[in-house]
């Protein structure tokens, strides 16, 4: 599974992209965030406040409780601020 990070999530983790292979217990995006947080102090810092995170599965916005299903690409980022 490709995981993408943007904005300060990307900065704290130190990369905008990684490939991961989460265990079966990781069912939804919140589970994935929780699991990823253990990978490094940067991950832990980026994911410290899940309420500040938003996500997309295969390039569609989803709530954090959305199931991963057969997702190929999951993105985790702060609330958007365009326009």
């Amino acid at each position: 599974m490709d995981v993408l990070y943007f904005a300060w999530v990307r900065e704290r983790i130190g990369t905008g992209h990684e490939q991961v292979d989460p265990p079966e217990a990781v069912v939804n995006v919140a589970d994935l965030v929780c699991w990823l947080a253990d990978r490094s102090p940067g991950h832990a810092e980026a994911f410290a406040e899940p309420a500040r995170l938003r996500a997309a599965i295969d390039q569609r916005f989803v709530p954090l409780d959305a199931e991963l299903g057969g997702a190929k690409e999951v993105a985790i980022f702060p609330p958007v601020t365009g326009g």
Partner: protein, 145 residues
């Protein structure tokens, strides 16, 4: 006609507004958002999610097209580093009558603020800060639902 562009190049307003006029349009409404220099901002950088951004913008353009029976929709969003006075976004909608053009243009900028994967970072000299979303933007987007 739907035109969506996510580009590091400056937005050429003259070209975009001329291109936005649909055949038979009685009215064209546009909105141009620019980098404000108040508050000591020296640079603004727009990050986005390539691929998803374009799809999100095309999706909103299509929704506006159907809802207001538009003759053209143009959304151009700049990405990368910008300075005060630079144009960040240009939206134009053309319709037979003014009401449809004006409403759909307001709709698109409200939706774009909350439903497209862009992130803004402000620099004040050496200090960089990611902009926090504003509750008023969320409220503005909600009024169209």
């Amino acid at each position: 006609m739907i035109r969506v562009s996510v580009q590091p190049a400056p937005i050429d307003l003259a070209t975009e507004i001329a291109g936005a006029e649909g055949r038979g349009a009685g009215g064209v409404a546009s909105f141009t958002g620019s980098v404000r220099g108040d508050d000591g901002v020296t640079e603004l950088t727009l990050e986005h999610y390539p691929g998803m951004t374009e799809a999100a913008l095309i999706g909103m353009a299509e929704e506006a097209w159907d809802r207001w029976k538009l003759l053209s929709v143009t959304i151009v969003h700049r990405v990368g580093p910008m300075v005060p006075g630079d144009h960040i976004v240009f939206i134009a909608t053309a319709a037979a009558h003014r009401r449809e053009a004006l409403e759909s243009c307001a709709y698109l900028i409200d939706r774009l603020k909350t439903d497209a994967p862009f992130w803004k970072q402000e620099k004040r000299g050496e200090a960089a800060a990611w902009i926090e979303p504003r509750a008023s933007d969320e409220a503005a987007a909600q009024r169209w639902t």
